[in-house]
């Protein structure tokens, strides 16, 4: 399971980094989104991978911490997801405005000289 998750995070991050270095602003937006997915999965994995372990105390009697998944990274991911979602939406608006005002979707606002 660790290998699959690590390969998934690595693949997403690699694709994201490649895309944010591309010249078209939409590619940058998609790259930021993919990179965001990779980072959120990474934060999630930092709570250690557990299968079938609840993150909240099921009953007051069974309060042995080894039975539970670490809830804190899950809470962190939730916060980070909301923030990155909102900021990606804002980025898309700015991207559209830049596309409309410059007439080009190049990140510099104009086509490079050939």
């Amino acid at each position: 399971m660790e290998a699959v998750l690590a390969a998934g995070i690595g693949g997403l991050a690699a694709a994201g980094v490649w895309l944010i270095l591309r010249p078209r602003s939409f590619q940058v937006a998609i790259g930021l989104t993919l990179l965001g997915y990779a980072v959120n999965l990474f934060v999630f994995a930092m709570g250690r991978l557990r299968v079938g372990a609840p993150p909240v105390l099921a009953s007051p009697e069974a309060n042995d911490p080894t039975l539970y998944a670490d809830p804190l990274p899950q809470a962190l991911v939730l916060t980070a997801l909301v923030i990155s979602f909102a900021l990606t939406a804002l980025f898309l608006v700015v991207l559209l405005a830049a596309r409309g005002i410059a007439g080009s979707d190049h990140v510099d606002g104009r086509e490079p000289d050939r």
Binding site: L32, L35, V39, V43, M46, P73, L76, F91, V94, A98
Partner: protein
């Protein structure tokens, strides 16, 4: 923690948040009401910050405030000590002056200016106060989200192009922040800064190396914010494109990055922290010197004053970070004093740049609507604004410019000189005459002196061009609100110079306090025991 006055620690966060929410409910056309409420809030924030400064200066250690009364390593604490209280005062002074400046017309250049502005102040104040790493991330994001809106405020092609790059860079920086926070949590099991400092010496070698990777990721985030070379190329174009009041308040944003680096380096990697002591110091020193060099060359090459002010912000960050990297407590105290003065001066320069350039190049300060629902001509009632009619207006602007230039170049008799002298004497070991001075310290001394000269030459050139050359076209007009904002910032610079002794003593006490992180840890975790 029972007196109502103790709850004032949380006020710099709660007050702007509540007021900014309330301002969203008001109709956009009620400019006077919105302006009045925002200025009153900024004044209240300044009063609270000064109160906290006095309380922090009087207290032996730090004042901790437990949110929701949860005990410290599990709950989130807000911590006021000398460093955070000083930064709060600086942010409130800048916030008030930038807001007053914006009242002359910029607050009508686009929707929801006041709400964004107060949210930005909330994020900045929260970042200064928080004692928890993830909470710091949230406040960073609040601050950045508001700053995206403010960079784009006024719209227009230049702002949108600069804003696109600014947002992309900062989104990537936020992702680095998350990677760093999660690595730190995975290897230490805590996100509270005080608890981290306590647990760090106990880490095993495997966890320690992974923790240092996490700390390096966090460091990259904060250094992107504080625009350390080579992470700071985004800063000058973004700040130069932003409207003048937004650029003035943005100059505190890069100091938030500097603040976090100072706080975490001295708390986690101080002399007492075991195997990780001094982590990253060489990088800070080398990066700081490179930033000084890059900022100086940029300033020499800058063609307009707003861009020059952006490079001045970079130089100021580079100076503080390099002084921190040198590892001398005396240099850090000088750097903290220098930080306050140079930030005020750089913000003043952004405001002056707009006043001086709008006469020559009307396009520079114009707004341009992109979406249909924007106010198409926000400045149409410009004629009704009563301009301050003083014959010698150029002389007044020139005097303000002179103060700015002296502060930034570090020439006597103003505070910039005192700060630089304190850094230099700290580096040369005047405080501790034993032992030879390291070669890297000499390098930093040289870089500081040369950057002073390299700042003076272009500022002199801009000064001659703007004030001595006979004016073509209309002379610059100065509105009442703009004059008040400039006067406030210049008064801040002069006050730092006149009361340089007490201010420097405060900075020295701050540096001493930061050098012994045990006091911080005790203050946060002792509150728990009660």
């Amino acid at each position: 923690m029972s007196l109502p006055a103790d709850h004032l620690i949380v006020a710099p966060v709660v007050l702007p948040l509540a007021v900014s929410g309330a301002l969203l409910l008001l109709d956009e056309r009620r400019h006077a009401l919105k302006a009045g409420v925002s200025v009153a809030t900024a004044l209240a924030l300044l009063a609270i910050a000064v109160w906290l400064l006095l309380a922090a200066a009087a207290a032996p250690g730090a004042l901790a405030y437990r949110l929701g009364d949860w005990p410290a390593p599990y709950g989130i604490v807000l911590v006021v000590d000398r460093l955070s209280a000083g930064m709060l005062v600086l942010a409130s002074v800048l916030g008030l002056c930038a807001l007053v400046y914006a009242l002359s017309r910029w607050n009508r250049a686009g929707p929801r200016f006041h709400a964004l502005f107060l949210l930005l102040l909330m994020g900045v104040n929260g970042a200064f106060l928080t004692g928890d790493l993830f909470n710091l991330f949230v406040f960073f994001e609040v601050m950045l989200a508001a700053s995206y809106g403010l960079v784009l405020h006024g719209s227009g092609a230049a702002r949108i192009r600069a804003g696109l790059a600014y947002i992309a860079v900062n989104l990537v920086a936020s992702l680095f922040f998350l990677i760093g926070v999660s690595l730190v949590y995975a290897n230490t099991g805590t996100l509270s800064m005080a608890d981290l400092a306590r647990r760090l010496p106990l880490l095993g070698p495997a966890e320690r190396s992974l923790f240092e990777v996490g700390a390096a990721f966090l460091g990259v985030t904060f250094l992107i914010k504080s625009s350390l070379w080579p992470l700071g190329f985004w800063l000058p174009p973004a700040y130069a494109a932003a409207s003048a009041p937004a650029a003035a308040i943005l100059s505190i944003l890069s100091k938030v990055g500097v603040y976090v680096v100072v706080r975490l380096s001295l708390l986690l990697f101080g002399a007492e922290s075991g195997a990780s002591a001094g982590f990253g110091a060489q990088w800070l020193l080398a990066g700081g010197i490179a930033t000084l060099a890059f900022g100086t060359f940029g300033l020499l090459a800058a063609r307009d004053l707003a861009r020059a002010a952006g490079f001045a912000v970079m130089i100021s960050s580079g100076t503080v970070l390099a002084a921190l990297g040198s590892g001398s407590a005396a240099a850090v105290s000088g750097a903290l004093f220098y930080l306050a003065g140079s930030t005020l001066a750089a913000a003043t320069l952004f405001l002056l740049a707009e006043i001086l350039q709008r006469g020559r190049d009307p396009a520079a300060s114009a707004t341009e609507a992109v979406f249909d629902d924007e106010d198409l001509d926000p400045f149409e009632d410009d004629d009704t604004v009563v301009a301050l009619d003083i014959p010698a207006i150029v002389a007044l602007l020139g005097a303000a410019y002179l103060v700015c230039a002296l502060m930034l170049a570090g020439l006597p008799p103003l505070a910039g000189f005192i700060g630089k002298l304190a850094i230099l004497s700290g580096l040369a070991g005047a405080a501790a005459p034993a032992g030879p001075v390291a070669a890297s310290s000499w390098l930093l001394v040289g870089a500081l002196l040369l950057s002073g000269l390299g700042t003076l030459i272009p500022l002199l050139r801009f000064g001659i061009f703007n004030f001595w050359v006979p004016l073509e076209g209309p002379s610059p007009a100065l509105r009442t609100a703009e004059a008040a904002a400039l006067a406030g910032l210049v008064a801040g610079c002069l006050a730092l110079s006149l009361w340089g002794g007490p201010a420097l003593a405060y900075a020295e006490a701050t540096a001493r306090w930061l050098a012994s992180p045990a006091g911080y840890v005790d203050a946060v975790l002792r509150e728990t025991a009660r």
